[in-house]
Symmetry: C2
Subunit: 345 residues, 2 copies
């Protein structure tokens, strides 16, 4: 059973820790042989739908590395099920929405289903992981932030310029509002149920919001992300807000009300931290590509992150985005050890 005084949770709360906690976005994934082997027999969605398999994949990196937190294995598109939007994963190309949401008529057909029932396998997987995880480790639940989920629903797949998403915002503001409101509703219920099932921390991923200018973020996104954080306050679990390419509006992302701000590798964590009112713990921010670099180069980059973090009130070590499939496991192992050893008080 997971405990409430793990190193990770303490760092999220800004309390003193014996050393800096570390986890990696996408720490369960294709760079691990164990995962690739399991994927030979099961699709990504099959794993998500099967609590035992999801538990197994969630725990694979925990067995191999001395990570301080597990993150439940799931996909940010799963809640689309509860809005009546069908999707799949195509080999090598990532997610594909079968009928992208492109018009107010499309938005009108969305509904808030029964997330507690539709997404039951995720909550069951959380329950299984929670009861098997060491008490020194934390369990993270997560969801995509409303903008990122909306942009997937609208674009239908990865986009370089988010043309359809921005056009929906600019051309059909009422439909945008309804779409974002629907996503908020489903997401709050999805995350609440994750917490009730045993998630001790929540991370909201706004992976694609960096395509916006700060004013668009303020107008079209902030109110919705803020509503999610506001409504989750009742649970008193740490909430992490993460985006990439958002250097020019991190202050607005922080205004949404998370406990911890996650930042990408292009940002100085100490400068970011200086810009916030109050003491906001910072999570980040090694370039995922650095894990593929020669050992001496990687080491220098890790040390630079740790040095930068000294200017933050509290630090959780992570990458600035998800781990890449080409990453050597030995490098992941080395980084975990370095971070713990070099920050030991």
């Amino acid at each position: 059973m997971t405990g409430h005084n793990s190193r990770f949770l303490k760092a999220c709360r800004g309390e003193e820790v014996d050393c800096t906690p570390v986890w990696f976005m996408r720490q369960a994934g294709r760079y691990m042989e164990e995962y690739r082997k399991l994927r030979q027999d099961h699709t990504l969605l099959e794993i998500c739908a099967n609590p035992e398999l999801a538990q197994e994949v969630t725990l694979q990196p925990m067995r191999r590395f001395d990570l301080d937190a597990a993150i439940i294995f799931a996909d940010i598109l799963l809640p689309l099920k509860s809005m009546g939007v069908d999707f799949d994963f195509t080999k090598g190309e990532g997610p594909k929405i079968r009928q992208p949401i492109r018009s107010p008529q499309d938005v009108a057909q969305l509904h808030v289903g029964d997330p507690e029932e539709d997404l039951r396998s995720v909550f069951e997987a959380i329950g299984l992981v929670s009861s098997s995880l060491d008490s020194e480790k934390a369990l993270i639940g997560f969801a995509g932030a409303p903008f990122t989920v909306a942009s997937y629903m609208i674009e239908g797949s990865y986009s370089r310029n988010f043309l359809h998403t921005k056009l929906m915002m600019y051309t059909h503001p009422a439909a945008w509002q309804k779409l974002m409101g629907t996503i908020v509703e489903v997401t709050v219920r999805y995350l609440s149920a994750q917490i009730e099932a045993g998630a001790q921390v929540i991370q909201l991923f706004d992976s694609w919001v960096g395509c916006l200018d700060p004013e668009d973020y303020r107008q079209y996104v902030l109110p919705y992300s803020k509503e999610i954080f506001d409504r989750l306050q009742t649970f008193s679990v740490p909430l992490i807000h993460f985006g990439t390419g958002t250097a020019t509006f991190l202050d607005l992302m922080n205004q949404a009300g998370p406990t911890v701000m996650g930042v990408d590798w292009k940002t100085s964590m100490s400068k970011v931290s200086d810009g916030f009112e109050g003491d906001v713990p910072i999570q980040g921010n090694l370039d995922p590509l650095a894990l593929l670099a020669p050992r001496d180069c990687l080491e220098k980059k890790v040390d630079r992150v740790l040095e930068d973090a000294k200017g933050c009130p509290s630090h959780i070590f992570n990458l600035g985005h998800g781990i890449l499939p080409q990453t050597p496991v030995e490098n992941v192992e080395a980084v975990v050890t370095w971070v713990h050893d070099r920050t030991r008080r």
Copy 2:
């Protein structure tokens, strides 16, 4: 014949102007019917290789809109010819390098050819445009910055994470240095010949450098971009430095030594300008997507850019990246008129 006291050149030099000059990156392109018609009979590379066609395409937007500058029609990959690297454009997918540069051995085979001869069609096109352009208008020459050109050569096409490029930097620093040095040499000769042919302003496009963290920019990119700007100083023409996603190292990009800094739409121009030593004219920064928005939304966004620009010592209106093929020409026309009218002194 182009004059040396056009509104555009004055703004680049920080001199007083009657109203804010305006041009658009990719202002000659697929959003224009005239261009699409010409493309039915000629490939992009055919146009680049034919000075009369390149002149025609360069002038198409000048006839249609009251733009303050023409930019010579060319592609940032053209100088690859002078390094022995073969490439083409595939329909819908953009540029493809036939044999990407992936190893020190690949780099060793590069050479500095004879840019003045290999790229003669570009200089001839500049000569033609220069002699036919109204004296109130300026003529811009350009090249890709070393990082962006190197990343195309290494990745072979558009990349999301620039894996091979960063691995070359981290794993083979000597090969990286040689590659960047080769690109610098060709680029300086390419741009010098453009200026000698009649280009009055030069823009260096570092479109993909936003994938780096500031420290990597400082170490692996800045010295090479700086060398280009340093060596072009001899011509006394304004030099514009442009990148996207570079909000956290605009100060370093400015240290490379341009006359004008171009910024993307995620950045506040007045804040950027405040951060620079001395008075650096700023170019930017409407989101290209805004040109597809309903008129009232577009108008608001243009006004916001103009308001923000009041904090800059001198302003050149532009987009924050290239114009999109889906852009309605009426909106382009409206923006040019608004910018001129609303900034008239």
